[in-house]
Symmetry: C2
Subunit: 331 residues, 2 copies
């Protein structure tokens, strides 16, 4: 059987360079090789934003514009909306009976996220159980490859536990196990080098950033605080400018030369920031321009999403029916 | 606004006299006064039977036969299948983001059930969260009256908490609060007076019982173990025969006379069991006969359930759309 890919985003904001290098670029490449589904996980976005009514919805069109602007091609990739696919909720309900609360509480990804989110005594039930919902997503699309970072591996383990349990119960293969498609790109640091990238912290470069914002962001980038004079030797590790050059500059051997020069001394921050800025301006300009055209016509973006969702409905409904049949519930 | 009723059963077995006196009889009366929906809660039945593939499905037709045999009239009462109404799963997902895990863990009904079910360290996530699913059911049908026993009141509190939270978020009344319709009938004891009634323990009288089973069950009924000779004074409290006479005998003043006679001495167990048996034979005979006819045509029963489910789809989908609209997700 040919591999197929499921990936997606919680629509909690427009996308930035971290998304571009961490997933979007890969998706544009993968759509040439595999059937690929990109799920806009609006239900999952609400698991820790249940009282923020506009959080998910206001960003769906933004994310759609980002997708199409970077080159995700809806004729090759199915882009769909999670909340418009009831089979995903139905599968979540069935799977929830096969996963214990303590198993969820042991999930390292969820544990780390709960710790970082400061829910206190009020962990939303939907948040604790979202690995089950994610298993529903992955299995509903019969995805065999899921692009993830290391930190997401426990989610795929949970999914495959459910897959094996269901197939054993059914005594046949109803669901398909998935494998991680690990990316070798580590998480892009924020401009200040300190935090996770976040639009609200203003420490990132959005895919729709204008020239001026890009210039300012690169200027403010964290380098080597001990690199005071151009002649001084500078440090490359933890220097955000070099991390970005590694990630975005097309010619890696030139970046390596720059690194040697910087370490030896005689290469100023202004110089390397200028090189990075030019590279980022060139990268983002066509994306921004395409994005502006797209976002001017939200109805078109919605129509693309709806068409993808209709396509997705067929396969997700099929899997829900298979699980209902296992329980003899299709009367 | 006119009140409307939601009630239902987990289809984990055919129904017995406890169901008849505890809910079925009331439903037959209520359908004359209110719009009434009876939900066959097959999804909820699986929350503690996730690995028992036939548990829910094999009992759906049995329960349908029980319903119609006792006089629940599908032209007056909408009978529908939970798993065939995806809006219920969708609403469960939305509400799960508004209820904390610790709130679920504090639910007295769920706590008591978890203690009795000996899940050990393996409480299914679907079981812990079923109060949310029940809130989805109640609100999806815009039910204002829910017939419950005392022990189920915390479920309605949980539902109304969700209702108030959603309406506050939406800043308008999307969902409707419900009130309990408390029954004054206490839970019917098992024939042996010891346990909960259960078909598998053989301590109950099913609505489809044949004459011989009824006779045997009444004969084996727990009375007063110290009432050895007819002339002895006997105890009425905890005497299952009198509990059943109270519940089923049409003439309560005659039952009171019997009680006085029994307490004074001179009334034998054989005599009172004879009176009870005759009463139960008369009660069950027409139900059994009707039930036999109905169960012989499972396709008819399924068609009635499907028609009710289609009717239910409209109202439940409406409520799911209202909640999606609140989050701006209906693109």
């Amino acid at each position: 059987m040919q591999d197929s890919i499921l990936t997606g985003d919680r629509p909690t904001g427009a996308l930035h360079l971290g998304h571009f290098i961490g997933s979007l670029k890969q998706r544009v490449a993968l759509q040439e090789q595999y059937p690929q589904t990109v799920l806009i996980a609006d239900m999952q976005a609400l698991t820790d934003n249940g009282t923020d009514l506009k959080k998910a919805s206001q960003n769906i069109v933004e994310v759609m514009a980002d997708y199409l602007a970077v080159g995700i091609d809806p004729t090759k990739t199915t882009i769909c909306q999670q909340s418009a696919l009831p089979a995903l909720a139905e599968l979540t309900m069935f799977y929830a009976n096969l996963v214990s609360v303590s198993r969820l509480e042991r999930n390292p990804t969820v544990k780390a996220e709960i710790a970082s989110k400061q829910f206190g005594d009020s962990i939303p039930a939907g948040f604790l159980t979202y690995p089950i919902s994610q298993a529903a997503d992955i299995t509903a699309f019969k995805a065999t490859l899921v692009p993830v970072g290391d930190d997401q591996l426990p989610m795929l383990e949970q999914t495959n536990e459910i897959v094996r349990k269901v197939n054993r119960l059914a005594n046949k293969q109803i669901l398909v196990e998935c494998k991680p498609l690990l990316s070798n790109i580590s998480r892009l640091p924020s401009v200040d080098g300190k935090n996770k990238m976040s639009k609200s912290l203003g420490n990132t470069i959005m895919l729709g950033s204008d020239e001026d914002s890009i210039r300012k962001a690169v200027k403010s980038m964290y380098t080597d605080p001990n690199h005071l004079r151009v002649a001084d030797p500078g440090q490359v590790e933890g220097n955000v400018v070099f991390t970005y050059l590694d990630a975005f500059y097309p010619d890696q051997s030139y970046v390596n030369e720059l690194k040697e020069h910087y370490k030896a001394g005689g290469l100023g921050d202004t110089k390397i920031k200028g090189i990075l800025e030019e590279c980022l301006q060139e990268l983002i300009r066509p994306i921004r321009e395409e994005r502006q055209k797209l976002i001017a016509d939200p109805q078109y973006l919605i129509s693309v999403l709806k068409a993808g969702t209709e396509k997705a409905r067929k396969v997700t409904d099929e899997v829900a029916v298979a699980v209902k049949n296992m329980y003899g519930l299709m009367l």
